[in-house]
Amino acid sequence: MAKILNVHNLDKTYSSGSKKLTVLQDISLSIEESETFAIVGPSGSGKTTLLGLCAGLDRPNSGSIELCGTEIERLTEDERAVLRNKNVGFVFQDFQLLPTLTALENVAVPLELQGSKNASKISRELLEKVGLGDRFHHYPSQLSGGEQQRVAVARAFSNEPSILFADEPTGNLDAETGEKVIDLLFNLNKESGTTLVIVTHDLELAQKTQRILRLKGGRIIENPISAS
């Protein structure tokens, strides 16, 4: 199968005053198309930083990242934004819906950015699929946490991404609601063949993916292993 994400010898340091803080060191991994993949590790292990780098949200100090066949470190900020718009979906721990937009408008934004004429129609279908057919015109503040995360999942799938990054998608939800959202995520992944990369410290959730990468202190302590 073709690789959708290739990461080689990635290093990331932050400077705080005169001190340098190494967050990630010598990270290499590759993920195949349609695969489900989990990055696990304790707090401060660099999981979320790695996710951000893989999605082109930040630049590494050294190493290379190839996302959807494109070496992203060579792209400008705006070129990376376009690449994300076309190929990447996101689900965040704290939902990150735009508070001033309704559920329907939130789901439509990625499509509108592509200039799609059917943004509204597709968004309605997706919201119905995630069980929010009666919440089109509700603002995020009028929805429960579970509902907000379902809108976020619908938004993440709206641009039919090749790869979907989920950062602690159940972190802010109770167990039951979290379960439902995860089921939704995996079902949609199966339906559309999207690669799913989940950052979590919930091992039970990680077990549901095909492979798991373990991080500690910014280093890989265990190379991707099959979850089963």
Binding site: L51, D58, E79, Q93, L98, T100, L101, E112, N159
Partner: protein
């Protein structure tokens, strides 16, 4: 899924940006209320002043003919000579003529006397405008009837009615009616000497036309249609000038009048501009709060594929639209507001101002709204460009600060805008540059004070203080503190308001007259030499003192440093001011200088000795305008006799003192035998003795004019009250905008303070402790900010008084006693009101509500 899919921008077009701006704005519009209020107030202030000024100018132009009552006039202060009469005839003869002078009038029916402006009129004056009388027919009949028309206010004051008699000089005539309005009489002068119209042919019989009386001879003309006033003026000006006459056209008169109001308008424009500038500070602070709340959404948008340009444009469009809306509302408010100005100014205005809508001002208001909003929002808006999409993942990356270059460009843009706009208002590059430089210096000094303050606290930290006091001080220099922003906003706001107040002080002090208890308050003019002893006796007979008995001799300048006046007039490079060459000077002689004078150059000579050249003393403004100094020769024409003099000294004269001051003073022993008249002064104690003395003087000496300074004072005080009303009204705008700026500044730091307070609350701090910490912090900021603002304004006002108004400046205590505690209290109240929810509600509720 390969690199050819990657382009530099997504396919969403401007329509999408508009759609996003609308969607987002719809839900967060209420957060922009502060921003809108800043624009609306600033624009309303500028538009109201601009629009009113424009309307006033247009109305003066439109009503120029009815202001004068004719197309043009020829006037002189002596009977016209043959040459001038020839010119008058060549112009087809005057349509009407007038003799006017100030004189005492007596009203036998009420036993009252009053200084009036007598206008003896022949012909069909006015040709334009209206002679408004009650009854209306009186305007047409007073000339045939040999009767007078008396000013309406005077009729009312003295309880006169049509049919009563008025005694002017030697004659007594009936009053034909009440004079409501007449072209050529301004209301300010009318309140000191109200106009009385009477037939021209009766003037001779009053016996008041004699030497010493200040008499005006006016000839009114109607021009043929199509006559160019400018050409007429150019062709006749010189020849009339030589013959002591003057030509005034309705256009030049209205221009002069317009200019007089322009200066006043310029000051009001500056006041409005200050309100606008405060509004701009308000915009910047409101937008920075707004954008702060949007950064998360920007990060998310960038995460899902929006470009930097797109996210930037969404908010820029929103702000431009709000600016447009604010501009429209502000302009409408300004246009409505200007309707109030005539109420404040009343009869200060020379014409009835008909309000119309000036498209130029409307366009300016609306465009200013958009331009100002965008310009002052740019810096905080640039924050969206540097938001990392990583923020959506809760990772605080190494967020780039606003680029230095772009920041400098925006700042430069702001200063160019302020400079151009102040030039547009002031029409003087020097003042505009000084104004902008003043703003830059003020900002720099205030930031310096804020930084110094923080450093000083760090260095001399009072470790022994209690927890709340220490914590409140610590808050001032914690990371991401708002100390600088708050001190700047509070300081600039206080500075502008306080400068405005001090400037008003300077302006009003310049015009006000101190009530000097021992100085004369009644002036008797036109006392003939032969009458002086009798007049003095009459005053003494009423148990009143004769304070001054000043001789006055009229003369004209004949030559300066040996060069005759007519040659100087032709020489355009001479630099000598025209009034020096044409004015009939009223000169006195005495043996010493008086209290209102100080010798600046040379020496006062009281004894002329044997020299042929008379050493005289001139005022500094005469010296400047005549381009002469000590030792220069001047020749005067004293009613036909040439007198050679030399400048012995130059005096500074305090013209603002209500007393007889002179440009030229001769020593004793020269002018005693020249034709002259006298001015006597006395001090009357009350209304009754003033009335009694006036009655007695008028019946004995009908040619003597009496000015009761207390009446003049009342008129001037009324005038100043009206002006200060308008200035206060405009200052109110600045204060209101200042409060909005303050609200914005306090809200900017609200989130951080709330977070901290909640934390303190969670770990057990009591409401009282939190309240104390917050209160102390706001008090420090309020006091430091407003005190620096007031002290700075003291310096700037001193500079203004010294450089612009050329007058001593005694600051009033108002800013220290009212502004300082007032603003500090306001900061405290606004600050605490914003944090009260933290103290009242459980911590978790606050966190959820504030989305922290």
């Amino acid at each position: 899924m390969n690199s050819d899919k990657v382009t530099t921008s997504s396919r969403a077009n401007f329509g999408w940006i508009l759609k996003m701006a609308w969607r987002d704005g719809k839900a967060s519009g209420s957060k922009l209320i502060l921003f809108m209020a800043s624009i609306v107030l600033g624009i309303a202030a500028v538009v109201s002043i601009q629009s009113f000024g424009q309307n006033l100018k247009e109305n003066i132009q439109l009503q120029s003919k009815s202001l004068m009552g004719a197309d043009f006039t020829i006037d002189s202060d002596k009977p016209v000579n043959e040459r001038v009469q020839g010119i008058i005839d060549s112009l087809g003869g005057a349509g009407a003529r007038e003799i006017n002078f100030a004189s005492m009038a007596a009203f036998p029916s009420t036993q009252a006397t009053k200084l009036v402006q007598v206008r003896g009129i022949e012909g069909n004056f006015p040709f334009y405008g209206e002679l408004e009388t009650e009854p209306a027919t009186a305007a047409n009949k007073y000339q045939q009837k040999g009767a007078a028309l008396v000013d309406a206010t005077l009729m009312l004051q003295l309880g006169l009615k049509t049919g009563d008699r008025i005694k002017i000089g030697e004659i007594s005539i009936p009053i034909a009616g009440t004079l409501i309005s007449v072209p050529g009489s301004t209301s300010i002068f009318s309140s000191i000497a109200p106009p009385v119209l009477m037939p021209y042919e009766l003037i001779e019989k009053t016996g008041l036309v004699q030497t010493g009386s200040r008499i005006g001879y006016d000839y009114y003309f109607v021009a043929d249609p199509g006559t160019s006033m400018e050409k007429l003026e150019n062709s006749l000006e010189d020849v009339l000038d030589i013959n002591d006459a003057d030509l005034d056209t309705h256009t030049s008169t209205s221009e002069r009048l317009g200019r007089r109001y322009e200066n006043f308008g310029k000051f009001l424009n500056l006041v409005a501009f200050i309100a606008l500038l405060l509004g701009c500070v308000g915009i910047a602070s409101a937008i920075s709060i707004y954008i702060k709340g949007k950064l998360r959404a920007v990060a998310v948008l960038k995460c899902i594929g929006a470009s930097r340009r797109q996210t930037f444009l969404i908010y820029l469009t929103q702000i431009a639209f709000m600016g447009l809306l604010g501009g429209i509302i502000g302009t409408a408010a300004g246009i409505l507001l200007q309707q109030l100005f005539p109420l404040f100014l009343g009869d200060l205005l020379p014409v009835d101002v008909q309000m119309s809508f000036s498209p130029r001002v409307i366009l300016m208001g609306v465009l200013l709204g958009v331009f100002m909003s965008v310009l002052f929002a740019l810096y905080p808006l640039m924050g969206t460009l540097y938001v990392s999409p990583l923020q959506a993942l809760r990772v605080q990356g190494e967020g780039k600060e606003n680029s230095g270059k772009a920041g400098i460009l925006v700042l430069a843009g702001i200063f160019i805008f302020i400079l151009l706009f102040s030039y547009w208002l002031l029409e003087d590059w020097r003042y505009s540059l000084a104004f902008v430089a003043g703003i830059v210096i003020t900002f720099s000094i205030l930031s310096g004070i804020a930084k110094l303050f923080m450093k000083a606290i760090k260095k001399y930290f009072p470790s022994s203080w209690g927890f709340p006091a220490r914590q409140s001080l610590l808050n001032l220099f914690r990371p991401q503190n708002q100390t600088l922003t708050l001190i700047l906003s509070i300081g600039v706001g206080t500075f502008l308001i306080s400068t405005l107040y001090f400037t008003k002080d300077v302006l009003l002090a310049q015009a006000s007259i101190e009530a000097q208890t021992d100085s004369p308050n009644m002036i008797l003019l036109d006392v003939q030499t032969g009458q002086q002893e009798e007049v003095a006796q009459t005053i003494s007979g009423s148990n009143l003192p004769v304070i001054n008995n000043i001789p006055i001799v009229t003369m004209r300048v004949n030559s300066i440093r040996g060069k005759p006046v007519n040659e100087i007039e032709k020489d355009s490079s001479s630099g000598v001011n025209n009034w020096i060459l044409n004015h009939e000077f009223r000169v006195t002689y005495r043996d010493s200088i008086i209290a209102s004078e100080t010798i600046e150059q040379g020496e006062w000579v009281s004894d002329i000795g044997d020299t042929e050249l008379v050493p005289i003393s001139i005022s500094d403004n005469f010296a400047e305008d005549a381009k002469v100094s000590v030792g220069d020769r001047l020749t005067f024409n004293v009613q036909g006799v040439l007198l050679n003099t030399v400048v012995g000294s130059v005096r500074t004269v305090d013209w603002s003192r209500m007393q007889m001051n002179f440009s030229i003073v001769f020593p004793e022993g020269v002018l005693e035998d020249a034709p002259q008249f006298r001015v006597l002064t006395t001090l009357v104690t009350d209304e009754e003795s003033s009335a009694r003395l006036q009655q007695e003087l008028v019946s004995k000496f009908p040619n003597v004019s009496i000015i009761d300074l207390r009446q003049v004072l009342t008129v001037i005080e009324g005038l100043l009250a009206k002006i200060s009303w308008l200035i206060n009204f405009m200052a109110f705008f600045s204060i209101l905008t200042g409060i909005i700026v303050l609200l914005g500044a306090v809200r900017t730091s609200k989130y951080q303070r709330i977070k901290e307070s909640v934390l303190l609350r969670t770990i057990g701090a009591t409401s009282k402790q939190i309240l104390k910490i917050l209160a102390l912090e706001y008090i420090y900021l309020g006091v430091i900010g407003s005190l620096s603002g007031i002290l700075l304004s003291l310096i700037s006002s001193q500079l203004l008084a010294w450089q612009v108004f050329d007058t001593p400046f005694v600051p009033s205590l108002f800013p220290f006693l009212v502004l300082l505690p007032g603003i500090s209290l306001l900061v405290l109240i606004i600050g605490l009101a914003n944090s009260i929810s933290v103290i009242k509600s459980p911590p978790l509720v606050v966190l959820r509500k504030e989305g922290l």
